[in-house]
C-alpha cells in the first residue's frame, strides 16, 4: 500500500511537472520545473533499486545538462519571450495526435507479457551494490558500447568547440 502511495505521489508529481515543463511561457521556469522533475525521477529510480542510475540522473541531468540549458536560456531575450505565445498555431493538432497516441499505447500495454526473469535479482544486486554490479558489466560484457560512448563524448566535445567557439583558425 505504501508502495502504491509512494508511486502515486511520484507519478502524479512527475506528470504535473512534465506538463509544467512543456507549457510554461517563461523558459527559465520550464528549466526550473524540469530540475524538480529530474529529482523526482531520480527518486523513482531509487524506488526501483537503481541507485547508480538515480545518482547519474541527478549529476548528469540535473547537474550538467540542465545547467547547460539554463546558460543558453539566459542568452535569450526573456522579455520578448514572455510576451509571445509559447505554442505554435498547430498545437491542437499536436495535442490531438499525442493524445490519440497515448490512448493507443496505453491500450496496447494491456497485452504486455512479461519477459524472462534474469539473474540479477534484487537481492543479488543488493548484495553486490548496484554501482559495482553495473560497473562490472560495463567493463566486461558492455565494454564495447562503453568505448563507443566515449567516442560519442569526444565527438560532442569536438562539435561543441567547432560550432560554438568564437574564432577558429583555418
Amino acid at each position: 500500500m505504501l508502495q502504491q502511495l509512494f508511486f502515486g505521489y511520484y507519478a502524479f508529481t512527475i506528470i504535473i511537472l512534465s506538463l509544467l515543463v512543456v507549457t510554461r511561457r517563461n523558459p527559465v521556469h520550464s528549466v526550473m520545473w524540469m530540475l524538480l522533475l529530474f529529482f523526482h525521477i531520480a527518486g523513482l529510480y531509487l524506488f526501483l533499486n537503481a541507485e547508480f542510475i538515480a545518482a547519474i540522473q541527478v549529476i548528469v541531468y540535473a547537474g550538467a545538462i540542465l545547467v547547460l540549458f539554463l546558460f543558453v536560456v539566459l542568452l535569450l531575450n526573456l522579455k520578448e519571450e514572455i510576451s509571445l505565445k509559447q505554442f505554435v498555431g498547430s498545437w491542437p493538432a499536436g495535442l490531438f495526435v499525442t493524445g490519440l497516441l497515448f490512448v493507443s499505447v496505453v491500450s496496447v500495454l494491456g497485452s504486455y507479457i512479461q519477459g524472462p526473469i534474469g539473474k540479477y535479482s534484487i537481492a543479488a544486486v543488493r548484495s553486490e551494490t548496484h554501482t559495482k554490479a553495473l560497473g562490472k558489466l560495463l567493463y566486461t560484457e558492455y565494454l564495447f558500447p562503453f568505448e563507443i560512448a566515449s567516442l560519442i563524448l569526444l565527438v560532442a566535445v569536438i562539435g561543441a568547440i567547432v560550432l560554438a567557439k568564437r574564432k577558429l583558425r583555418s
Binding site: P116, L151, G159, L163
Partner: protein, 475 residues
Amino acid sequence: MPLIMPDLKPVMPEIVMTVIAIGMLLAELVIKRKETIGFLTIIGAGIAAFTLAGSMGTTFGGMYVSDGYSTFFKLIFLVNLILTILMSSRYLETLKINFGEYYSLILFATLGMMLMASAADIIVLYLGLELMALSTYILAGFIRYDIKSNEAAMKYLLLGAFASAILLYGTSMIYGLTGTTNLRDIAVYIAKAELASNPVLMLSMIFFAVAFSFKIAAVPFHMWAPDAYEGAPTPITAFMSVGPKAAGFAVLGRVFLTAFGSVRMDWAAIFIPIAILTMAVGNIVALSQTNIKRMLAYSSIAHAGYMLLGVIAGTPDGLASMLNYMFIYAFMNIGAFAIIIMLRTETFKGEDIADYQGLSKTHPMAAALMLIFMFSLTGIPPMAGFMGKFYLFMSAINAGYTWLVIVAVLFSAISAYFYLRIVMLMYMKEPKETVQLNSSPGVALALVVTVGAVLFIGILPSKFLLFARLAASAF
C-alpha cells in the same frame, strides 16, 4: 570475474578508423596543409577497407558481428567517405571553413555507420547510430556563418533526437517483452514465447520502423531531409544522402530480418505503404523544386522508396538487390553532387537549377557527366542506375509484389521528368551567364571514379550483383 580479451579481429576496421580519426585530430595541430590531412584520411580509409577483408566473425559476446552484409555496407561507407573527402578540400577552402576537425568528424561519422552495420545488439546499434548522427549534425552545421547551415543542423539534430527517442521507446518495449537487446536472442525468444501476434511487439516494431524510416528519409518521416540537405555543405549533403541512408538500411535490414524475421508479413505491411508514399512524395515533390540540392534530396527520398522494395521482398535476393542499389546509388548520387560542388565558387552558389542552363555550351564535359548521372538516377540503361532498379524490381516480383513494382516503375517514369529537366536545361537552353568551374584534382578524381563506376556497373554488373548476393546470403 576474469577479464577476457575479446576477439578484436572483427572490429579491426573500426579500430583502424578510430585510430585515424583521433590521429587526424592530432595531426591537425602539426600539419598546416589541410589537403594533406584529407590525403591521409583517404589512405587511412583505404587501410580500413583492406582490413575489412579478414574481419569476418562475431565478437563482444555476440554484440558485434562482421559478416558479408556488414562488410558490403562498410565498403559503401568507405567509398562514400573517400569520395566525399576528395570533393571536400576545395569546397572547404572556397567557403573558408577548412578546419581539420572536419576530417575526424567525417571519420567518426563513418565509424558510427560501420558500427551500425555490424551491430547485433540494440545497444551497440543505438550508440553507433548516435555516433554517426552526432557527427553528421555537426558536419551539417559546419558553415557556422551561414544561417542555412545552422538551421539545417538544428532541424536535423532536433528531429534526429526525436526519432532517437522513438527508437529508444521501441527498444524499451522489446526489452520488456524479451528481456534482451541482442537481435538474435530477441528472435529466438519471440519464437519461443509465441509473441508473434502480441500488440506490444507490434508497437515496438512500429517504433523501430519509424526510427529507421527517419534515418533513410522515408515518407512521412522524411521532412528533415530536404532542409538538412539544402543547408548542409554540399560535400556533406552528398555524404549524408548516401552514408546515413545506407546505415539506416543496414540496421533496418538486420533488425527486421533478424529480430522480427518471424513477423515478416506484419512489418512488410508497415513498409509497403511507407514505400509507396516515399516513392510518390519523393518523385512528385522533386518535380517542382528550384534548388538542385533540394531536388536531389527529394530524389534521394524517392530512391529510399525503391530500396525499401528490396527489404519488403525480404528474400536474400531482395536484400542483395537493396545492397546493390545502395552501392550504385552511392556512385551516381555523389557524382551528381560533385558537379554541384564544382559549380560553387566564392561568389556563385550554383545551387539553383536555373544555373545549369546552357552548361553544355560553357562546360561540355561537366554537362556530359551530369547527363550520365541524371540518366543513371532515372534508371536508363546502360547506366548503373538501371541495373540497380532492375535487380530490385526483379527480387520484389519474385517475392510476389508485382503490383508494388508496377507502382514503382510508374513513379520512376515520373522521376524521369525532373532528372531530364536538368539535362534539358544544360543541353537545350542557352547559357544565361558564364559559370566558372571550381575544379580541383580531388573533384576530378571523384568524378572519374563515379562515372567509371556508373558505366562499368551499368554494363558489366555481374560481379557486383554476385558480391551483393553473397553479402546478403551470408547474413
